[in-house]
Structure formats: structure tokens, C-alpha cells
């Protein structure tokens, strides 16, 4: 294990990044049976190289693979765990649909889900540290139909055992920074208590840096559990809510960090460097710089690629300006294999 010192206010992403237009075209052709599986795979690899390059050019310290291989964050995992079935698309609003999976039998871990993704990303990354994202057990349970287990709680704990195996496989493969995505966690106030226990079950015995991403929900429902959740970082959306609720940062225990969401991913307007810098100065009044990472609110995949990249550039520029104002402050240390 080596120790790696990051710059103060390390910049990173939440996970997803827009797919290049040509990749979407190849996926369409593959679905129509007109492109071979191995060519699709090659296209995925090339897309990861391209979006890592975007992040490098923008100056992001810790890149992800942009989740280029994943259509959707629950679907992708459900397709790779035994016991799930897909009946068809379900509408979420207007004419937006997703393939909501159904649990129809006992769930079984069929083998690595995202380890290959990680291996490839590490090989093509410019940075010694990369971020791997994994959807948490509660969110998978909440966004699925449960036909088999006697309760959603039982289902979530079963998923926790599976996610735990995947996390250990990632640790084994050399991952140093993993983010658990649990956007559903604040949705049902009466379930939060056991949901937190299920998430902790998934994280048990995993010895790498663990973050948790939550967005577009009431963080105060989770705040009472910040301490007991086995993660050292909470990556939260703030730009979309106009940097209200910053007080939540004070609820984060002193030995844990905030991943500060400074870019609105639901708006095509590119933020100005000055407004992002102003948001950073605001959070620095609440938390010491060593406990802050800088990231967008959420995954960038719904934006046009060009705009996503410009937003990353703005985020990095603003961070560099504020770093300049923090002369002499050292950044956080990360253990890397």
C-alpha cells in the first residue's frame, strides 16, 4: 500500500458521462443484430478511452469510466445477478421509461459485475486513482419489483450480501476508491433505519476508500446515520438546489468528507467559473478544505457531451482559483495498492 497525496479540493465526477454519438449508433445497430458482440465491446473500450481523455483535458483529478457500458444504474446490476427478470419498460414520468427489473427467484452472485470495467479503466487512465461506482442494495431493491422475498427488507439484505462480494472482488483487483450510489435512500422515511443496516452489511470488511452518493432527496432523513454508515465520504447534489441546505455539511462527522456537488446536471446552461468559485468559498466557511472533494451534482449522462465537458472545465478552473487562495494547505491522502 502506498500513500498518495491528492491536491487540496480534489476534483472528480459522480460516475456517468454522455456516450459519444457513434457509440449510441453502434449500440442501436447491435440491438438490430447488425453488429457483432465483439465489435460492440471494442466500441465500449474505445468510448471509455474517449471519455477518460475528455476528463483529462478538463483537468479532473479522479476520473471514472463514464459508465459507458451501463444503460441504467439498476438495470445493469439486475442483468448480472441471477434471480432477476425483465417484463418490459415502465414509465417514470411523461414519456420517459426504464426497464424495471423483477425479482422472481433466489438471488445469486454469478461472478464479477464491474471488475472488468475497473481493470480497463485503470489501464487507460492518466491518474493513479480512479473512481468506481456501484449501485447500492437499497436502491436496487427499491427500484425493483419483489415477487420472491417476503419483504423488501429481506430482499435488500440479500442484495447486500451480493454487493459485498462484488466490493471485495474490486478491492482484490486493486480498486482504491469506490462510490456506492444510493439515491433511493431518503425516499421512504420509515425504511431508512433498516436500509442503513443493509447498506452497512454490503460494506462490511471492505478496506478501501468508500464514498456514498445521494441526490435529489431530503438529506436530513439520512443525517442521523452519517456516523454509523461505513463510508468516509458523502457526495451530495447542491447546485440544483441553489446551494441551499449547506447546513447539512455540519452534520457530517469530523472524520468524514463531503463530495460537494457544484454543477447542475439537469441544466444545459454552463455555470460561470465565478459562481462555482463562490459556492466553494461558501462551503469552506463550514468545512475545512481537507474534508472537501469537488464534483458535479450527479452523473452527467443526460447532457450533450460538449456541454458536459465544458461544465467539467469550469469546475476545475474554479477549483484551481480557490486552491490558489488556500496557499500551503495540503490535500487529503489516499491509500493506493
Amino acid at each position: 500500500m502506498d500513500e498518495l497525496r491528492l491536491p487540496v479540493l480534489p476534483t472528480t465526477v459522480i460516475g456517468s458521462y454522455p456516450r459519444p454519438r457513434w457509440l449510441r449508433e453502434i449500440i442501436r445497430l447491435w440491438r438490430a443484430g447488425r453488429v457483432k458482440e465483439k465489435h460492440l465491446r471494442e466500441a465500449f473500450d474505445d468510448a471509455v478511452v474517449a471519455v477518460v481523455r475528455d476528463q483529462e483535458e478538463a483537468g479532473v483529478d479522479i476520473p471514472s469510466d463514464g459508465e459507458q457500458r451501463r444503460d441504467e444504474m439498476v438495470e445493469y446490476f439486475a442483468e448480472r445477478i441471477e434471480g432477476f427478470r425483465f417484463y418490459g419498460p415502465v414509465r417514470v414520468w411523461g414519456n420517459a421509461y426504464y426497464r424495471k427489473p423483477a425479482v422472481v427467484g433466489p438471488l445469486k452472485y454469478k461472478g464479477a459485475i464491474v471488475v472488468e470495467e475497473f481493470d480497463f479503466l485503470r489501464r487507460v487512465s492518466y491518474s493513479p486513482v480512479v473512481k468506481v461506482t456501484i449501485t447500492g442494495p437499497y436502491t436496487i431493491a427499491d427500484w425493483s419489483f419483489n415477487e420472491y422475498y417476503s419483504s423488501k427488507e429481506e430482499l435488500a439484505f440479500e442484495l447486500a450480501r451480493i454487493i459485498n462480494r462484488e466490493l471485495k472482488a474490486l478491492e482484490e483487483a486493486g480498486a482504491s476508491y469506490i462510490q456506492i450510489d444510493e439515491p433511493a435512500l431518503p425516499t421512504h422515511p420509515d425504511e431508512v433505519e433498516w436500509a442503513v443496516m443493509a447498506v452497512n452489511e454490503a460494506l462490511r470488511g471492505v478496506n478501501v476508500k468508500l464514498g456514498m452518493h445521494i441526490c435529489y432527496g431530503d438529506y436530513w432523513r439520512i443525517a442521523p446515520y452519517f456516523e454509523e454508515l461505513r463510508v468516509s465520504q458523502f457526495a451530495l447534489e447542491f447546485a440544483n438546489r441553489g446551494f441551499k441546505d449547506l447546513g447539512i455539511a455540519e452534520a457530517i462527522p469530523e472524520d468524514k468528507e463531503l463530495g460537494f456537488g457544484v454543477i447542475d446536471v439537469h441544466s444545459r446552461r454552463v455555470e460561470s467559473v465565478e459562481e462555482v468559485a463562490a459556492a466553494l468559498r461558501k462551503i469552506l466557511k463550514i468545512l475545512p478544505p481537507q474534508r472537501i472533494y469537488v464534483n458535479p451534482d450527479c452523473g452527467l449522462k443526460l447532457l450533450p457531451r460538449r456541454i458536459a465537458k465544458r461544465k467539467m472545465e469550469v469546475m476545475v478552473k474554479a477549483t484551481k482559483i480557490v486552491r490558489g487562495e488556500l496557499k500551503g494547505v495540503e490535500g487529503p491522502v489516499l491509500r493506493v495498492p
Binding site: G88, V90, T187
Partner: protein, 321 residues
């Protein structure tokens, strides 16, 4: 004695219709093509529902984005805002924003006429129920930027929705289905609900079907007595224990048992549903077996599998098929 299988709220919008609608809204498909395909799909769904033995359908079918859409679009003083979570579902509705005095404009009447025309053309033996959001739920799920109080808003909405319900009755709706899911939450503002409901019901001559879902109703059951309710729709999936109390409570209304889970893909057993219907039939003159809410939350194929079971369960009771 009347025992029937009925829809509640609406059917899931098939994916291909979703695609068609977005193209139409983007101006990439013309009105004529759009309407002709829509009518074709509607007839297909109506025929299938009839074949399964469901005899009461709804005018909303799969036409609405959410429960409030037609009303928020048509009523003066109301606009559609951002996306909000619909109750505790991973499903979002556009929040109605109240920006000025509310004036009634026909909102869902064209959907009623469309469905009625198709049913008649195809010679289907289906009764059509008209769906409206209840004024209480509408008030609490909107953003009020105009009226001074929730009470004022609720009464104005009741006035407009009452006018709509009257038009729907005049157009031939046997029932108007009034959605008040918020009655199942704790801390119901009973007076607010009652005043608004009374205002609405005073305008309507069609049968009033008060629909509740996603929770129990027991805590307000006694308050409902004395209101004009022809059919009471209750959720027997999320709140199965309340059924006993409701069966023992005779206020002269018909009972709609929401016993098919519209939020889970597991398909119910005919026998279990039939038992429920039989139990209710011992106490009530009019019993309807329904999904527990609108079926938007499950894939369309699964919804139809469930409707098939719904129809079979009722047929068994009525007299051996």
C-alpha cells in the same frame, strides 16, 4: 345484486405509444397520423379488457401523463410546473401551479367522448367511468401561489372539478371516479376534505365513486358517512387488515375492493380474489373488484395478465361463468 370487475385510474401507456406521443409533441408526427394510431391502440386495449371480463373502463385509459395533467392544462389559473414524486412511487407528476383565479374549462371531456365513441363503434359491452382528481388531493399536491388559504383553493377546485364532473355525467358517465389517495395518510384535514367534497358532489348527478389507495382508510371511515358516495374504493393490497372493518361498516355505498396490486408484477390468484368478492357480496349489494390504483407502475403486459385474473375472479362468483 351487482358484481363487476372494473378499472381504476388508468392503464400503463405502452412504450410504442409513449414514443408516438413524444414525436407528436415534438411536431414530428402530424395530428391525423397520431390520432389514427392512438385510436387503433385504444380499441385494441378496450377489446382485450372486455374479452377478459372487465366491464367498467376509465376515460383516462393510457392518455394522461399523470392524474392532474388534463385539468392543469385546461383550467384557467393553473399551469404545469416541475416534476415531483407521486406519493412514494418512483413515478413523477408535473406539479400544478395555481397562478390566478381558477375557471373551469372542459378538461377530460374529449377523452370521455373519444373512448365512448370507440366503445360504441366496436360494439363493446363496456361502461365508461370518468376519472377526476379529488379537490383535497389536488389542493395538497399543488403549489398555491394565488389563494390565501388551502381552504379557498380547495373550494375553487371543487367548483371547477364539479362542473367537469357534471359535463362528464351528461356525456354518459355512469360513475365519476374521484381520486383522494391522501385520505389514507395520517393527519387528514377532515374539514377541508369534507367541505370540498360536498361542494363537488352538489354539482354532479352521475354516481360518485370515491377512490383511495396506498393505505388504510379506517381512520376517516366514520367521517365519510353522510357524504354522497355511491361507491367507495379501498386498497386491500397495501392495507389488507382494514377490510374487515370496512365490511362491517354499512353506510349504503357500494364497495370497490382494490385487490390486485398495481405496484408489483406478481400476478394474484383467482381463488384468493374470488374469496374476497364472496365475502363482500354477503354484506354489500354492489361489489366491484379492481386494481388497488392506476396501473402505470407495472409493465403493460403484466397489467393485462392481472386484468385477466380480475375478470376470472368475478365471473366465478356471478354464477359459474
Amino acid at each position: 345484486m351487482r358484481i363487476e370487475a372494473a378499472l381504476v385510474g388508468g392503464l400503463p401507456r405502452p412504450y410504442r405509444i409513449g414514443r408516438l406521443m413524444s414525436k407528436y409533441r415534438d411536431g414530428k408526427v402530424d395530428e391525423e397520423t397520431y390520432m389514427s394510431r392512438l385510436r387503433k391502440e385504444l380499441v385494441k386495449a378496450l377489446r382485450r379488457v372486455e374479452r377478459y371480463g372487465v366491464t367498467i373502463v376509465v376515460n383516462s385509459m393510457f392518455l394522461w401523463d399523470d392524474l392532474f395533467q388534463p385539468f392543469a392544462e385546461a383550467f384557467e389559473g393553473v399551469e404545469r410546473g416541475g416534476l415531483y414524486r407521486f406519493l412514494d412511487n418512483n413515478f413523477y407528476y408535473r406539479v400544478p401551479i395555481i397562478k390566478g383565479p381558477i375557471r373551469h374549462r372542459p378538461a377530460s371531456l374529449s377523452h370521455f367522448k373519444l373512448v365512448k365513441g370507440l366503445v360504441e363503434e366496436a360494439g363493446l359491452n363496456l361502461s365508461i367511468k370518468a376519472v377526476i382528481p379529488g379537490p383535497y388531493t389536488f389542493t395538497l399536491m399543488s403549489e398555491n401561489r394565488f389563494y390565501n388559504s388551502a381552504r379557498e383553493l380547495a373550494l375553487e377546485l371543487a367548483e371547477a372539478l364539479g362542473k367537469e364532473a357534471r359535463l362528464l355525467g351528461e356525456a354518459g358517465a355512469e360513475f365519476v371516479e374521484v381520486h383522494e389517495p391522501l385520505l389514507t395518510l395520517q393527519g387528514v384535514q377532515v374539514d377541508l376534505f369534507k367541505h370540498a367534497y360536498e361542494r363537488l358532489s352538489s354539482k354532479v348527478s352521475a354516481g360518485l365513486w370515491l377512490q383511495t389507495y396506498f393505505g388504510p382508510l379506517e381512520h376517516v371511515l366514520e367521517e365519510l358517512e353522510g357524504l354522497r358516495i355511491d361507491v367507495l374504493g379501498v386498497d386491500a393490497v397495501e392495507a389488507p387488515k382494514q377490510l374487515e372493518g370496512i365490511l362491517g361498516f354499512d353506510a349504503g355505498w357500494g364497495l370497490a375492493i382494490g385487490a390486485v396490486d398495481s405496484r408489483n408484477t406478481r400476478v394474484e390468484r383467482v381463488g384468493e380474489l374470488r374469496r374476497l368478492v364472496q365475502m363482500a357480496a354477503e354484506r354489500f349489494d354492489r361489489v366491484f373488484l379492481t386494481p388497488n390504483s392506476m396501473m402505470d407502475f407495472i409493465p403493460v403486459q403484466v397489467a393485462f395478465r392481472k386484468l385477466r385474473v380480475l375478470g376470472m375472479a368475478v365471473r366465478g362468483v356471478v354464477g359459474g361463468g
